[in-house]
Symmetry: C3
Subunit: 350 residues, 3 copies
């Protein structure tokens, strides 16, 4: 696909600096880009590459003014990158059809406008809406609902009675609706508590590869609108994740914990069960959160602390060996003072 810089700028509602007639045929990373490529700067860490990139043009924010380059200036180059990638790499979609080599139980309702690949299994009373794509190896349990335009990549499993909204993306290997981990008399008898609830995933949610979301014990595990979950995340039974929250890879959220709106959990963070995180809480990577966190707080560490306090604590921790040496030296000086005083007292007394 060939577009002039001017055409792309106008598509992005951006401003051209330099030659609007330059022809752009691809979008590439700043190190890899060459003649005919548009590239971008979204992370200041790569600013130096502005000098060396061989790209024909660069998507930048208004902060950057480099007149010896062809630029498109936009408010948010990362958003603009997303749009221009969508332009140059349109999705490669087939005409929807339901393969004859699927296994559909009686009483399942599959829209004629859904695309069901071979090797898909759809259980009784399930409903698959229009525009849905079910890739090979997908398993849809009984009474499941898959909302319009959702995409389930290969080998995704959605167990009985779970409800998936519209425009949801479940990447390969995701498991929705496995049993929660509930046992009475743990480590003695491990008596299984039946897990009879379900999972509700609202519109516009995306879930990363091999992530697992357990069904509620009785009620629902609930992933609200616009939430994005990365790969290999564990969401336990009865958890609620508020709208537009972002859960980075390998996070674990224990049972019955509730997240407000717009919460961000860094990679590998762990949350104990039965706690509440307020709206817009941010949790640092690898942190361990053991208690409620009020709205808008940033916390880090294991066990977690307010982020600034944690930074101060960590600064001290790394200097502990020196502090210990200092304390030992102080002790010696203190002992000397005491000795001197005692000697003096003695000498005075004698």
């Amino acid at each position: 696909m060939n577009k002039t810089l001017g055409e792309i700028a106008s598509f992005l509602l951006g401003k051209v600096i330099g030659d609007p007639q330059v022809v752009i045929s691809d979008v590439r990373g700043i190190d890899e880009a060459g003649k005919g490529d548009l590239t971008f700067i979204a992370n200041p860490k790569y600013m130096k590459a502005l000098e060396t990139t061989k790209a024909s043009a660069i998507l930048v924010s208004p902060q950057i003014e480099k007149i010896d380059r062809n630029l498109i200036v936009v408010d948010d180059p990362y958003i603009a990158l997303g749009r221009v990638l969508g332009l140059f790499y349109p999705e490669d979609r087939d005409t929807p059809r339901i393969s004859a080599e699927t296994f559909i139980e009686e009483g399942a309702i599959v829209s004629r406008d859904a695309h069901v690949y071979p090797g898909v299994y759809i259980g009784r009373e399930a409903r698959v809406e229009q525009g849905v794509i079910l890739y090979p190896g997908v398993y849809i349990g009984r009474r499941v609902v898959i909302g319009e335009d959702s995409i389930l990549y290969p080998n995704v499993v959605v167990s009985r009675r779970c409800i998936i909204g519209k425009r949801v993306i479940l990447h390969a290997g995701v498991v929705v609706g496995s049993d929660g981990f509930g046992f009475a008399r743990p480590a003695l008898e491990n008596i299984k508590i039946p897990q009879v609830g379900f999972v509700q995933i609202d519109d516009d949610v995306e879930v990363g590869a091999n992530t697992t979301i357990d069904r509620g014990t009785i009620e629902k595990t609930w992933i609200q609108k616009g939430v994005k979950i990365d790969n290999l995340v564990q969401v336990a039974h009865n958890v609620v994740i508020g709208e537009y929250s972002v859960i980075v890879s390998q996070v674990g959220i224990s049972g019955s914990t509730r997240l407000g709106k717009g919460v961000i959990l860094g990679g590998q963070a762990g949350l104990v069960g039965h706690i509440d995180l307020g709206d817009h809480v941010m949790v640092g990577a690898q942190s361990g959160v053991h208690d409620d966190v009020p709205a808008n707080q940033v916390v880090s560490g294991y066990p977690h602390l307010p982020h600034r306090q944690w930074l101060r604590v960590q600064a001290c921790v790394s200097q502990l060996p020196e502090m210990r040496k200092n304390v030992a030296a102080m002790l010696k000086r203190l002992e000397k003072l005491e000795r001197d005083k005692k000697n003096k007292t003695h000498s005075t007394k004698s």
Copy 2:
């Protein structure tokens, strides 16, 4: 399903306080329950909800005496909840049948009383016992044994020669019998050591979604009777997990490590290889265990410490910035004493 409170109490061997004629038609969480619902209190954290719940009756332990409510009093409300959920939500099982659309290699033996869904693959010389349910996408390798009444959810993989006991539950995406991670000259040549052992899973084990259990190098990786493993756990080659142990989500157990009976590993904990944990050891969430732990100990932290010591240490850690300030202030006072003494000596001498 409708039952009177008296009927349910008698099924649970519990005692009714209030009206035994109240009709119960469902079991629900304490916040969600309404008229006709039975609810429960198993975690003291939710005690306050006793005042506000709209449930018609509540399952409680003998500690709770609230006369203005219909109650069933039982020794362990969580166990009772499990039983009553089993009553109100009986499992929805089909008549067993072996789908014509499975792939069964010659020489595999599949019980007529097993239920094999379409899209299952069963290798040569494998044996699938009666009452087993194999959901779509399950792969059973050669010479594998699946014991009576075990359930393998969709897309479970059990590789060659692994042995699964009776009443075992493997949730969706579980991998049993992948190669252990064994390489000679690591980071130089990475020479693969063939992994020729197997995995043995004993009766009544349950394994969570997308968990991986590697085969032994030569001998077996062994999950003993009644063990419960949560989602996304890693069990490396040659590991032994003792009876009734409980392994919470995202734990990693390195090669050749052995756990006694009734061990509990908190979420995201990591164990190095070649160590022994005694019976009934408890490991806190996110802990890193680098050495043997004797029976009945509770350990936490990274690197791990006895739990009480870890609590004391953490209390100090969070106050380090203050301690550092105090030490700096002490140093000044010490220096002042030294200066004063020196001046005095000087003045005395002069």
Copy 3:
């Protein structure tokens, strides 16, 4: 299979001590081995078992000289073990054939010498080379290349346009080429950035069960020659892992981070995005790496420190309660000195 000790020694280019005519019929672990078995000592931790093992012969390194045993002495007993396991447990391979029950889109090219099991899906324009084995449930996206002699275990997913080299092993449930986790205006709007890059996996790489490797945003995520990745590892978009690196289970590598050659990452370690680790860096288990690490460094902890410094720091951390007590005691002694001085001054003055 029966071999004399002499035959095995000659196959391993090792030296027999004791009786070269002893007949060996199996290879077993040191505790389990009995008459007719060869065993081995590769980890000094198991040296004591040399006294008690019932094995007929033992593979050892030149350091060990025990004359009352039949030994094969080799430079590296672990490498030798690998070779002898290959001898006694040859792989059980079928004649390659392409099952009629696979789903191959038009325009895919599958070598006649590949082995494609039932239930495999191969997309348009994909290429599967000779000697490849695709187990049931494998999904190969469009324009994917699978190089010679690679093995994809059951339910592996390789999405569109990813490139897999020769002799690559992908264990069950691996996902290659899921979308990277890229969203503009995170936690506010979560605007998806299309992920149009791919994954390139070079020759002789092995990837553990249920590991996930995301496609590059625009360019490639790149796993170089000979890299070994364990189970449940997360590799984010645009990551580069240098040749022969070793990534232990449950590690998470964030986006655009680059590892040099021969890097070793311990289990559950986490790396933030956009950092560089030099050649032969070693990262301790559960560490959190937040910044570049120069070549050949060993780092540990969260946040990471040079390993030796971390050991010193940890030694101090565990003794913090004592240090705190000492500091408190010093403060009292200091206060006493100050009081005494003040009193003296007073008494002098008075």
